[in-house]
Symmetry: D2
């Protein structure tokens, strides 16, 4: 099998490597001439055999939109686009509809695994028509981890289902990270009691209820920097966490831990919290409590 792959950044570049290691021929395109195989999207389309499969792995939003639009101009009826970026599932419905007018097929694929995916394989959640998913199965099989297919891959539903599942996956991920982080702070705060915080996390790796891959990564991080001296308590968030909460609101699903995780990240990025200025001001007003100067 020979496919096209657009976007050769941290994720796409690793995926090309893994695909090739699993005997999928890949022609990649990227704006960066140092990594690209094709001179242009048109060139990529001309290179791969028909009916074509092109995997799109570029930043969600405007860039994904423009890449899909450009592909729509070059591909033909019967070709297949697999959108593997972090798009919102509602975007997939739009993309699929636009492409279907030209007879171009569409699958959305949520991809998990980060920089470890090259080595471990990527967890895949896909949405689309059964026949298209089956057609692309050699690609999915090359990308997914070793082991039974259904432990690293799911055909979750029609178009959009892959990214919906990936969105929920990321919402869970946020809350899992926050859970370990709260535990870390509880251990770290009582250095009078816990003499070996990294060792405690390390010991949780086997036999305990909390063992997980994220725990292993936390152990790894603590081995590299046992008191997190080189790292600031400042955390970005990407769209999926926010979308998860928006979908929860739309479906009336209570998500207290997922939302707490996002809010903790928001606070982490604030130098001064306007809300807490207001609380401090209120305390001063009614109680005559001192406040800390902003200075």
């Amino acid at each position: 099998m020979h496919i096209g792959l657009i976007g050769l950044g941290r994720m796409g570049g690793n995926m090309r490597a893994r695909l090739r290691e699993h005997d999928i021929e890949v022609t990649g395109f990227d704006q960066n001439p140092a990594v690209t195989d094709a001179a242009s999207v048109a060139d990529l389309v001309a290179t791969i055999p028909t009916p074509r499969i092109v995997w799109v792995m570029v930043p969600a939003g405007a860039i994904t939109d423009s890449v899909i639009a450009e592909l729509g101009e070059h591909l033909e009826a019967g070709d297949l686009i697999i959108e593997g970026g972090n798009s919102r599932f509602t975007e997939d419905l739009r993309h699929a509809e636009e492409l279907s007018a030209k007879g171009i097929e569409y699958i959305d694929a949520g991809v998990s695994g980060g920089i470890w995916g090259h080595e471990n394989g990527y967890g895949l959640m896909v949405g689309g028509k059964t026949e298209q998913v089956e057609r692309a199965m050699p690609v999915f099989d090359a990308l997914r981890p070793e082991g039974p297919r259904d432990e690293g891959f799911v055909h979750a539903g029609e178009v959009g289902a892959g990214h919906y599942a990936k969105m929920v996956h990321n919402g869970i991920e946020y809350a899992l990270m926050q859970a370990y982080a709260e535990g870390y702070e509880l251990l770290d705060k009582r250095e009078d009691i816990i003499k070996d915080v990294p060792g405690t996390f390390k010991a949780w790796q086997r036999g305990t209820v909390v063992r997980s891959w994220l725990l292993e990564l936390l152990v790894r991080a603590l081995e590299q920097d046992p008191e997190f001296e080189k790292i600031a308590g400042y955390v970005e968030d990407s769209g999926e966490g926010r979308w998860t909460i928006e979908e929860a609101l739309a479906s009336a699903v209570p998500v207290p831990t997922i939302s707490a995780s996002i809010f903790a990240r928001f606070v982490s990025r604030q130098d001064q919290s306007p809300a807490m200025k207001a609380v401090a001001a209120l305390r001063q007003q009614f109680g005559g409590h001192g406040v800390k100067d902003a200075g």
Copy 2:
């Protein structure tokens, strides 16, 4: 009526003034010679008529314990101590039991109103025997706000009920403050939309569902410092908020807004959050996401 009052700080000093303005004779004692009326607790006890009423208004914990112990040595059977500080209600049960061995009566009184109480009167929640509460009613009537007695005073139950009610009052207070503060940040953040944040809060003072005394204080604070430039987003908390959550845990009562309010204060006092360092470290581990240097 002539009572003793121990503790003449921000609260006690104002209460003495209000009591005197309402024709209650007060002999006050404080460590601070500049404000005290009596030379010592013993002197205070000797000065006031029997059966005595002594109001204790000192910091909760060890100081309240020692003042009550000292009073226990000087008072006689039939005398009455009213503990008006911010004690935990479980302390009241202990105090009352110890004093009852000597025949000394005990009432716990939760007092709300802050520095405005002198002028507006204090909201009072008391616990104790009915005959003792009735005996002290002239004191409560002098301290409580104008208007119907039951709109500023409650005999909530036996000993401990006053401080339990005050504890819950303060838990609610924390969450109310946080609610307005979140609203403030939402208005403040969109200066492209809301051109007059202080004016918006001011306009909520009449007719709206959110009108309250705390809102009036927020309006006052914004009049003094419209962008909270002189105030840091750093907020202390006193014991009542934490006790409220502990009692909620003991009674299996979900208190998501009260706990969120306390946690927001904890975070506001952190220079660097250990938890968020851990989250940043995790993101870096799995995604290769950049982190902000602790530097």
Copy 3:
């Protein structure tokens, strides 16, 4: 002044009454023939003097859209629509733009006060051009509560600002209600300590830090049904609360108490929580803990 008013339900009907009591002539239209003054929107437009002012007070969403569209066909350049319903502020931008093509002016007005507004006046937050707001001031003055104008009315910014402010107002309102509710449960749960829960709330009405209009309403509710025996713990939510959280997400503003309030409502409406089924299943899996039969 003589204006049109479309929508004579619980809010609009009361507003017509208050306007008339304050010497504003009102021609109202409603689908309900029992309450309408005009036979149709066209009839209403024909009845009121030019340049016209028409207040729209119908359910947000599709109905508001269709009423504004219909008005757009009948009004003329220089006429003014005041949209007083619970629209999302983003809708206002769309409405204003569509109408401006015809020279029709637009103000958005957030209205607070519920069924009490007729008697107490309505808190008003408006967005729009200064000259239009001034033109409609007699209407705002009639609707707003007695007292200084700026304590019950704010011109918060351009079109959209009124509904943005109202949205935040409602977000705060949700969290305030939840705060009192958590306090209620904490008092209610310890009937061994608190012998008079309604009396405790009643006593908070004067002098305390937590006094507010919502507190007064809670006292009123407890007077009518002291143990809430006739009321289920089932709470609807309208759009504003959810929008507040969506805006908070868009602006990276942490809103832990507002979101907790919404989630508590979601849970209150669930017969069985899918999430808690999953937690129960997990406990059973690892601990052999018994589960409660769904039956």
Copy 4:
């Protein structure tokens, strides 16, 4: 090595089996004659060689207290008690101090792994003196999972550190479970999108960021009951979660996800929420909104 083991319930019984499989001789005692090896605690103490090691694995609280008190009467200086139950770490300090008066040594051991520990080994977190921990190492090595010792065992600090670490472990566990549960509800709610909820969880087991042992258990639970039809959304909690929050309060550590997890369990056990009755009552008061009859 030959040790005593008191408590042969779900945990203790499995631990006896695993110890014996790893060539540790065990004399067990339990109130249940069907499982006990010894007739009494005295009999057990008489049976095992000196200096003795006795592992205590009974319910935390009063039963642990009484077992340790009874052991204190029968053991001699130089003997060692390992307290492996779910005691609060503050209890360990008390136990160790009482026993040290008699020269009896004490180690606290947090044990994780549930009913799977027999097969997989138990994650162990211990607190105590280094020489005592080393003395008991054959027992720990028999109980802990295969693999490097430091991936299933930690000597976390002095007496109390083991149970402090276990308490934090359980706090994290609560939040992890809630995170997956929120994700489950988000998938389950959109059956229009996600056609295979169990399959989606199953697919997360390899390659994804959220893979964990709890995830595997959730997959297992969904295989047994794909829509959780036989399980009610009703979840108990044991002490550790509440203690975690109490310690967080004492140390001023924000724990929003851990507390959200506990509160979700509290709500799950309520037939009617008093708090939500109060919110419904408030809505009715100000907005004339209908309420659902308690009926």
